[in-house]
């Protein structure tokens, strides 16, 4: 199966793990893709009217996709260029020629693989018109070619359909018209019945017609059958239709569109009709294309027996099992829509223990039992990648309050389990479900398919932070309305009430009133919970501002959480708040107003600022690894985004104000990070549990915790005593805090040591503490907090820290050689690696485009030096900093080529890919965002014949305004506030500036 994107990328998918990517040199939308059956070639048509030939070639045992030739149809002298615009591409089954239908009605023939035009074979519409009766001709042109289909039995006969409605069966060898079908309805698409005895045509009025094909030299005025399936009221066009014979009964007629214009004109539907059985598959996004999967060779007089229907819609890919009654969907092993609700945060858990993994897989299976026993129908190629050495779990939090669990061990992200938190709260939208159910008996028989659902019930449900303990299967999910849910994995369903505790983070601070959203009201009484993660305690922060940091210590039964107002510590065993601390600066008023008043204008100004920044930063330095296909995709996406943006006039040159951070900056109280550590806080002789909190204004609070021993949890309460308060002089937001043991290694996670999964930390040597702010890294000694080393990143490089993580990088040679490093992603999208604790800069790479603010905001690091970020709202890109841990698709497609292709590879200049280059971009699973395309299966099976062209109007998914998801930092918000402020000031100063000559005087 091949999918083309709007940015000009071609992605080939087969069996799980088989994935090839190619990118056109031009940034143009791929409008059509066609496989050349059995030869490992792929033809793509771009919207700049050029045809490109792609080749699957083998290198070092793995398959790659490379562009070998391109071809543009020459214009006809004296005609407008639109006349030769290609509307239809049909590779002939024999594999030697391609037919191109054009806007002007002419059909051209091009040889393969050399892509040279056979000029003498060109069929102009005049030639057809000669055999058309006068009364039909009546001086009108035939219109563009809408469809060309090869006769299923006789390769020399072509069925050509013109927009006006005329369909011609053309014999290539004798250049004669075999049969004329004088349709009067505007034609959209054509399909053969497999035996070649009849054809079906679909039309713009929402109807389709079946025509009988008989002898030669005939004219047919009337179709054998004509129907408008969703009539009698005016219907929309049926843009594509397929006819598939079936051994078990009536043939399948599958078509897209055709819905009643007035009542359901806005639905995106594909209808499957077999005899009297009709299912109207109702998708949530626009249908791009569809095809059926059937066995490669259909014997004479046999049946096609389609196994599955694969539909590409704008936001996802859906496969329907056509052999199981009820036509259930087949779960896809890749390309699952990540963004079925917008992603608001993500979290990666490495080295998941097998036991937890199996439990999550099991509850996921119970949650969505397989309705179809069919295997994934797209199974071409062979996955050569090794079995992943460890199980990686990627958790994504979504706007609708769900948390999705993805198997991130291998190349593709496989959905494992979906956790919903909305049912714990009373939301307004509950009765909607019942309404939908009542409507189910209506006609047409709609069936909701796919899971893309961008509409959130309540923005307060959005998940902001996730923490998971992989040893105890405890999880904390924190949301937009200050809700912190402590959950536990249970294999049994349960019915229990969720206990609620409220923690006031304002601490009687006076003069503040919260003007933001209300808290979410929890539902009362016992609630039913299916097997899976079940909430035990709900901690509600007051005021209900979005949770900005959360951390969990399952050994001490503690969860710490922070908002823009302060932080709290909660003992979920005794269900007691332990601590609440307000971090607001007395002058801070913005934090109290809440998001309501500012957010609307903010969102708009953010968007404008993004555009402005995008424009103003075009002259960025070139990415280092521009040769890797995925980074090229990035560049292409960026170019596209720039094209899409409305032309904006720069009023005055951009200027930036230089002011130091002051103590009373707004939002200074936002808690940015929380950390638990067993270390030396009060004296060098005794270590004990501690909790650390860092704020936006460069304050760090350290608490010594009195945690009772395991047996006494129920008797004694946890106590917290403030041990230290550190104010960083440069006042930059604290991004992360970590404690390093005597050997300079980061402290292990809770339970890691007791389960023999990590070496015990060195408690003899002196510990040190690493504080990473947005501007610098500093290592302090403990317990006496004195600065040991530091690195001032911003002062040196002018970039600010966005994400940091302590990663352990293993040597490519031996797994024993491990190095702990500090990985840091900056606001410029670069990744820097530093040694710890000496903080010496090692290497740095450019990774994410600096304009891709949501990409930078969404980045997560894994413990072994990989990382994920959102390359689009729907696609995660995986990168690796480690020489050892590289996840990339390695696969092989066996291709039996008819011609010798050595002549083709002369243009290939792809440099051999080093398997272990640091920072190598590795293509990740992706979906959505795919633009008009045709699709096919791997060449192992017979490729289905497709009607050409995008089914709906041109795709515009890239034109969506930047989806701001993920945790955009306060800094970023402030940047944009500041830049808009500055823009205003620039305006104000414009007159003044004009008066002065701005030239630079050099003497």
């Amino acid at each position: 199966m091949a999918i083309g994107t709007k940015a000009g990328a071609v992605k080939l998918y087969g069996a799980p793990g088989v994935e090839l990517t190619g990118l056109h040199k031009e940034t143009a939308t791929v409008t059509q893709l066609h496989f050349l059956p059995g030869q490992g070639w792929l033809l793509s048509l771009l919207d700049d009217n050029t045809l490109h030939l792609w080749e699957v070639c083998q290198k070092e045992g793995c398959s790659h996709l490379e562009e070998t030739r391109s071809f543009g149809l020459p214009g006809r002298p004296g005609c407008s260029p639109g006349i030769t615009r290609v509307t239809v591409v049909l590779p002939m089954a024999a594999g030697a020629t391609v037919c191109l239908g054009t806007e002007g009605g002419a059909v051209y023939f091009v040889t393969l693989p050399t892509l040279t035009l056979l000029e003498d074979k060109t069929l102009f519409p005049d030639e057809i018109l000669q055999s058309v009766p006068d009364e039909y001709r009546c001086g009108k042109a035939l219109g563009p070619v809408e469809s060309i289909q090869e006769h299923p039995r006789s390769g020399s006969q072509l069925l050509i359909g013109y927009s006006r409605g005329l369909v011609v069966l053309w014999e290539q060898s004798t250049r004669a018209v075999q049969h004329l079908f004088l349709g009067n309805q505007q034609l959209e698409s054509l399909a053969w019945e497999q035996s070649g005895k009849s054809i079906v045509s679909s039309h713009s009025d929402g109807g389709y017609m079946v025509w009988a094909v008989s002898g030669t030299g005939q004219r047919t005025q009337q179709p054998a059958m004509s129907t408008i399936p969703y009539g009698p009221f005016p219907c929309k066009a049926i843009s594509k239709i397929l006819w598939r014979t079936c051994e078990s009964g009536n043939p399948f007629i599958i078509f897209s569109g055709g819905m009643p214009r007035a009542s359901y004109g806005d639905r995106h539907c594909v209808s499957v009709l077999q005899g009297q059985t009709l299912a109207t598959l109702d998708f949530t996004s626009r249908v791009i294309d569809f095809f059926t999967v059937q066995s490669a060779e259909v014997p004479e007089g046999g049946f096609e027996n389609p196994r599955a229907l694969v539909v590409l819609v704008e936001e996802e890919l859906v496969a329907i099992d056509l052999q199981t009654p009820g036509w259930p969907t087949i779960p896809a092993p890749y390309l699952a829509p990540l963004h079925s609700s917008a992603i608001t945060c993500s979290c990666h858990v490495s080295n998941v223990p097998l036991k937890l993994w199996e439990r999550i897989v099991s509850v996921g299976e119970q949650q969505s039992p397989r309705q179809s026993s069919a295997a994934w129908p797209i199974d071409g190629g062979k996955n050569l990648a090794q079995e992943p050495t460890q199980r990686g779990l990627l958790l994504t939090g979504h706007e609708d309050g769900t948390v999705r669990f993805w198997d991130a061990s291998g190349v593709s992200l496989k959905p494992l389990y979906k956790l919903g938190t909305a049912n714990i709260f009373q939301t307004d939208c509950e009765h909607n479900d019942s309404l939908n159910q009542a409507g189910e008996e209506e006609w047409p028989p709609f069936r909701k398919v796919g899971c893309f659902d961008p509409y959130s019930d309540d923005p307060r449900l959005g998940v902001q932070k996730i923490a998971l303990c992989k040893y105890t299967a405890k999880m904390v999910v924190a949301g937009t309305a200050g809700q912190v849910l402590v959950m536990e994995l249970s294999d049994e369903k349960s019915e229990h009430a969720v206990s609620v505790a409220t923690v006031d983070l304002l601490q009687d601070r006076e003069g503040f009133t919260w003007k933001g959203h209300d808290r979410l009201a929890p539902r009362n009484g016992p609630l039913h919970f299916p097997p899976g993660f079940q909430p035990s305690v709900l901690v509600q922060c007051v005021p209900p501002a979005a949770v900005t940091a959360v951390t969990l210590h399952s050994e001490w039964n503690l969860v710490a959480f922070g908002t823009s107002h302060g932080f709290g510590l909660f003992d979920y065993y005794r269900r007691n708040p332990v601590l609440a601390r307000c971090t607001l600066h007395p002058n801070d008023s913005l934090a109290m107003e809440g998001p309501l008043s500012r957010v609307k204008s903010l969102k708009k100004s953010l968007r404008q600022s993004f555009r402005r920044i995008r424009k103003s930063r075009v002259s960025g330095k070139k990415r280092l690894n521009a040769s890797s296909p995925s980074s090229k995709v990035q560049e292409a996406n960026a170019q596209l985004a720039e094209q899409a943006g409305p032309p904006e006039v720069e009023m005055t040159p951009v200027q930036r104000r230089i002011e130091p951070r002051s103590a009373d900056d707004s939002l200074s109280g936002v808690v940015r990070c929380l950390y638990f550590a067993d270390t030396f806080l009060r004296d060098a002789a005794h270590h004990g549990p501690t909790m650390w909190a860092g704020t936006n204004s460069g304050s760090v609070f350290a608490y010594a915790l009195e945690v009772p021993s395991q047996e006494k949890f129920s008797e004694r309460a946890v106590e917290a005593v403030l041990g230290k308060e550190i104010q960083l002089m440069h006042r930059a937001p604290v991004v992360a805090i970590a404690v390093l043991d005597g050997r300079g290694n980061p402290l292990p996670e809770p339970y890691e040591v007791s389960r023999d999964l990590a070496k015990a930390p060195d408690m003899q040597g002196s510990h040190s503490m690493l504080i990473s702010s947005e501007e610098q890294f500093k290592v302090f000694t403990l317990p006496k907090v004195s600065a040991k080393t530091k690195f001032k990143l911003t002062a040196h490089e002018g970039c600010r820290v966005r994400k940091v993580a302590l990663v352990s990088l293993a040597s490519a040679g031996s797994e024993e050689r491990l190095e702990n490093c500090l990985a840091c992603l900056t606001n410029l999208g670069d990744i820097h690696i530093f040694t710890v604790p000496s903080l010496r800069p090692q290497v740095h790479y450019s990774c994410i485009r600096k304009e891709d603010i949501s990409g930078i905001a969404s980045c997560v690091f894994t413990k072994h030096g990989q990382g994920f970020y959102l390359i689009s709202p729907s696609e995660f890109e995986r990168f690796s900093l480690s020489a050892r841990n590289v996840t990339e698709p390695l696969c092989r497609l066996e291709v039996a080529r008819l011609q010798d292709t050595s002549c083709l590879s002369n243009s290939s200049t792809v440099t051999p890919k080093l398997p272990q280059a640091n920072g190598t971009h590795v293509p990740r699973s992706s979906e959505g965002q795919h633009s008009p395309s045709d699709s096919d299966r791997s060449p192992v099976e017979h490729p289905a014949a497709f009607s050409p062209g995008p089914i709906d109007s041109p795709n515009s998914s890239m034109e969506n305004p930047l989806d701001i998801t993920g945790d955009i930092t306060v800094e970023e918000v402030k940047d944009f506030l500041a830049s808009s402020e500055e823009a205003e000031q620039n305006l104000r100063n414009a007159s003044e500036d004009e008066a002065r000559p701005t030239g630079i005087l050099i003497k």
Binding site: D504, Q507, D508, R575, N576, P577, L579, A580, L584, H585, P586, R617, S619, G620, K621, P653, V654, Q655, R656, R657, I658, E659, P660, R661, A717, E719, A720, V721, L722, G723, K724, E725, I726, Q727, L728, M729, H730, A732, E775, Q776, K778, V785, A787, K790, K792, T794, A795, H796, E797, G798, R800, N827, L828, D993, T998, G999, I1000, L1001, I1002, K1003
Partner: protein, 327 residues
């Protein structure tokens, strides 16, 4: 006195003379600001400044003019003069004009490294430290013309685009609109974006050293030692006072503890005083003898005790471990 209705300095001066019953005695007034500097009160401006920094009390130090030395007030004077703040000094004739002594002023800027820079460049150090003035300038992208071996070439550069009235940058007189910024704290800005340079400056704002090529080249410092070429690195520094190159200077600056910055404030909570019943925070010595009832709403509110506010239903009243901070 009400903070809002504080009159002029003269009123205050007379009030003090009245209160202390010293109507004819000339005195010098001073106070310590939040940085610990002993600063004078001798006009309306610094009088209001002193009032605004009162926290909540203003502690005024009164010295008889005859016995006080004008050099008492100075930057870091408290540290320097800890031992003999009020030491006797020789009598000096009373100046006719009340003009502050040079020591009364904080240094806000300086031109440095004159001997190693080309004459066309100027390295300016802005001392933000201790001043409440905004740095007060804006930078923008621009095009700089350089003379290269191949001829004149245009390269992107960063320029000062605007000075804020009354800001530090303007008041130094050393920076002007359209000056090209070449270095920030020893780091070349060539190839850096406007945002990067902004961030670099903000990160160094407490001790900002910018090297500019002034748009107006008429006020350049002319070296007296010898007439060297108008460009290129100067070679006239003697070996004994070899000034390090900007980069190495920066690095040494960076590796040693920078003198006037980076003292991250660590507040140790004294474990001995933790368990004071009542959980009522002690305002700290600077607050003076405040009645305890006032303290929760004092300016130290951010360091309030936790114990007394954690009123969760499930907890007993026994939690008195509210942290007390001794500052």
């Amino acid at each position: 006195m009400k903070r809002s209705s504080a009159g002029s300095f003269q009123d205050f001066y007379q009030l003090l003379q009245t209160v202390h019953q010293i109507p004819r005695v000339d005195v010098l007034l001073g106070y310590t600001d939040i940085h610990g500097d002993l600063l004078p009160i001798n006009n309306d401006d610094n009088y209001h400044k002193a009032l605004s920094s009162a926290n909540p009390l203003l502690r005024v130090i009164i010295q008889k003019k005859a016995e006080s030395d004008a050099s008492v007030f100075a930057s870091n004077s408290l540290q320097r003069k800890k031992k003999g703040l009020l030491r006797p000094a020789h009598y000096r004739a009373k100046p006719h004009l009340l003009i502050g002594m040079p020591q009364d002023f904080r240094q806000i800027s300086s031109i440095i490294d004159v001997d190693i820079l080309p004459e066309t460049h100027r390295r300016v150090r802005l001392h933000k430290h201790g001043s409440d003035k905004p740095l007060g300038f804006y930078i923008r992208d621009g095009v700089s013309v350089r003379v290269a071996p191949q001829g004149v070439e245009k390269v992107p550069g960063i320029f000062i685009s605007r000075l804020v009235k009354g800001g530090l940058a303007e008041s130094t007189g050393l920076l002007a609109v359209s000056d090209e910024i070449l270095e920030v704290n020893g780091i070349d800005v060539a190839g850096k974006s406007l945002d990067q340079v902004t961030d670099m400056m903000v990160a160094n704002s407490h001790n900002l050293i910018i090297t500019v090529k002034p748009a107006n080249q008429r006020n350049n410092v002319i070296r007296s030692s010898k007439a060297s070429g108008s460009s290129g690195v100067s070679t006239d520094s003697t070996p004994s006072q070899q000034t390090p190159s900007p980069a190495s200077q920066y690095l040494s600056n960076y590796s040693t503890a920078e003198s006037d910055e980076e003292g991250d404030l660590v507040i140790e909570s004294d474990s001995a005083s933790h368990y004071v019943p009542g959980g009522c925070p002690n305002g700290g010595p600077a607050d003076g003898p405040l009645p305890p009832s006032l303290s929760p709403h004092s300016s130290r509110g951010s360091l309030q005790s936790l114990g007394s506010h954690d009123g969760s239903p499930g907890r007993g009243s026994g939690r008195e471990d509210g942290t007390l901070l001794t500052l």
